[in-house]
C-alpha cells in the first residue's frame, strides 16, 4: 500500500513536470494552449474544435473543445471546455460488462443501448488556457454510454493520444489527468452518488434524461496550488529540477 502511494506520488510529480513543460513551451513560443485545437477558426458557440474531434482509433480516446453560450457556461472564469471520451470499440477499453450492468441497474438505467462512446471528463479552461474546473455531465448531454466511476477512472488512467490530436494538448491532457487524479476520482465518486440518489428518489423522468440537470458533479481546480502542494511535499527528497529551454 505504501509503495503504491509512493509510486502514485511519483507519477503525480511526473505529471506536474509535464504540465509545466507544456506551459513553458507555450510561453517560449508566445503561443496559446488552444492554438493547435482552434486552428485559426473563429470561435463560435457550440462548434467543435476541431470540427471532427481529435479521434485516436488506435488508443481509443477522443476529445474536442467547445464553448457554450454565456448563460449556459458552468460558471467561474470558464471560456470553454474539453470533452474527453473513450471509444469503447478499442481493445484497451474492454469493460467488465457484468460489473457495468450491475452499475446501470443500480442507477436505474438497466436497458440502455450500448453506445460506442463514453464520456470520461470535461475540463474547463480560462481564456488564457489555464484549467479552472473539472466536471461530469449527465447522460443526455453527450448521449453516450454511462460507465461506472471505477471504469472511468481506469480509462482515464491510461489516457494517451498518439495517432491524432495536437501533440502538446495531448501531453497537456494526460498530465492534467495525472496531476488531478485524486480530485478526478472524488469527482466521479460524487457523480455516482448523485446517480444512485437520483435512482432512489421518485422522479417524473429518469435522472439521466432530466434536461434540468446538465452537470452531475464538478470541482474547481487550481493547478498552481496543486503544484505548490507537490513541491512542498517533496522538498525533503531529491530536488528534481525542470529545465526550460528558452
Amino acid at each position: 500500500m505504501q509503495r503504491q502511494e509512493v509510486s502514485g506520488a511519483a507519477a503525480q510529480r511526473g505529471a506536474a513536470r509535464q504540465l509545466l513543460g507544456c506551459y513553458a513551451a507555450l510561453a517560449a513560443d508566445a503561443a496559446h494552449l488552444l492554438d493547435g485545437v482552434v486552428q485559426g477558426r473563429p470561435l463560435v458557440q457550440w462548434e467543435h474544435y476541431p470540427a471532427d474531434d481529435f479521434i485516436d482509433r488506435e488508443t481509443g480516446y477522443q476529445y474536442f473543445y467547445h464553448c457554450h453560450a454565456p448563460g449556459a457556461r458552468t460558471g467561474g472564469p470558464e471560456h470553454g471546455h474539453f470533452h474527453v471520451f473513450a471509444r469503447l470499440d478499442a481493445d484497451r477499453h474492454r469493460l467488465d460488462e457484468r460489473s457495468e450492468a450491475d452499475f446501470l441497474a443500480l442507477i436505474g438505467a438497466g436497458a440502455r443501448p450500448r453506445h460506442a462512446l463514453a464520456h470520461l471528463l470535461a475540463v474547463a479552461l480560462t481564456p488564457k488556457g489555464v484549467p479552472s474546473a473539472l466536471f461530469t455531465v449527465n447522460q443526455w448531454v453527450t448521449g453516450d454510454r454511462v460507465l461506472s466511476a471505477r471504469a472511468v477512472v481506469r480509462a482515464l488512467a491510461g489516457f494517451e493520444m498518439r495517432s491524432a490530436g495536437d501533440p502538446l494538448v495531448n501531453r497537456w491532457l494526460a498530465a492534467l489527468i495525472g496531476l488531478f487524479r485524486s480530485q478526478i476520482a472524488r469527482l466521479l465518486a460524487a457523480r455516482d452518488r448523485r446517480l444512485l440518489a437520483g435512482a432512489r428518489a421518485p422522479r417524473r423522468e429518469p435522472l439521466l434524461e432530466d434536461r434540468a440537470i446538465e452537470v452531475l458533479s464538478s470541482v474547481a481546480i487550481d493547478a498552481d496550488r496543486q503544484l505548490r502542494a507537490l513541491g512542498q511535499g517533496r522538498a525533503a527528497r531529491a530536488q528534481v529540477r525542470l529545465r526550460i529551454s528558452r
Binding site: A24, Q62, A69, L117, P127, T142, E209, G231, A235, R243
Partner: protein
C-alpha cells in the same frame, strides 16, 4: 534557466499569454441559448443520421431533436462518432 516545480507557476508562464476572445453566437441561432443549442445540435444530428442511416434513422433523429428522447442519439456535447 532551471527552476524547481515549487518555484515555477502556470500563472507566471501564462502572464503574457493573450486571452482568447469569447465565442460568438452562431449566425443561424437567433433564439435563446437553450433553444439555439437544441436546434443546432438537432440539425447536426439530422444531417449526420440522414447521410449515414437513410430515411428511417433520419426520422428517428428528427424526433430526437424534440424534447423527449434526444439522449438516445446524442446530446449537445456529444463526441463525433
Amino acid at each position: 534557466m532551471r527552476q524547481s516545480i515549487a518555484t515555477l507557476s502556470i500563472a507566471a508562464l501564462t502572464a503574457a499569454t493573450a486571452a482568447l476572445p469569447l465565442a460568438t453566437p452562431a449566425l443561424a441561432a437567433p433564439m435563446g441559448d437553450s433553444a439555439a443549442h437544441a436546434a443546432k445540435c438537432g440539425a447536426k444530428r439530422r444531417a449526420k443520421c440522414g447521410a449515414k442511416c437513410g430515411a428511417k434513422k433520419s426520422a428517428r433523429c428528427g424526433a430526437m431533436s424534440g424534447s423527449q428522447s434526444k439522449s438516445k442519439s446524442g446530446g449537445m456535447c456529444s463526441g463525433k462518432k
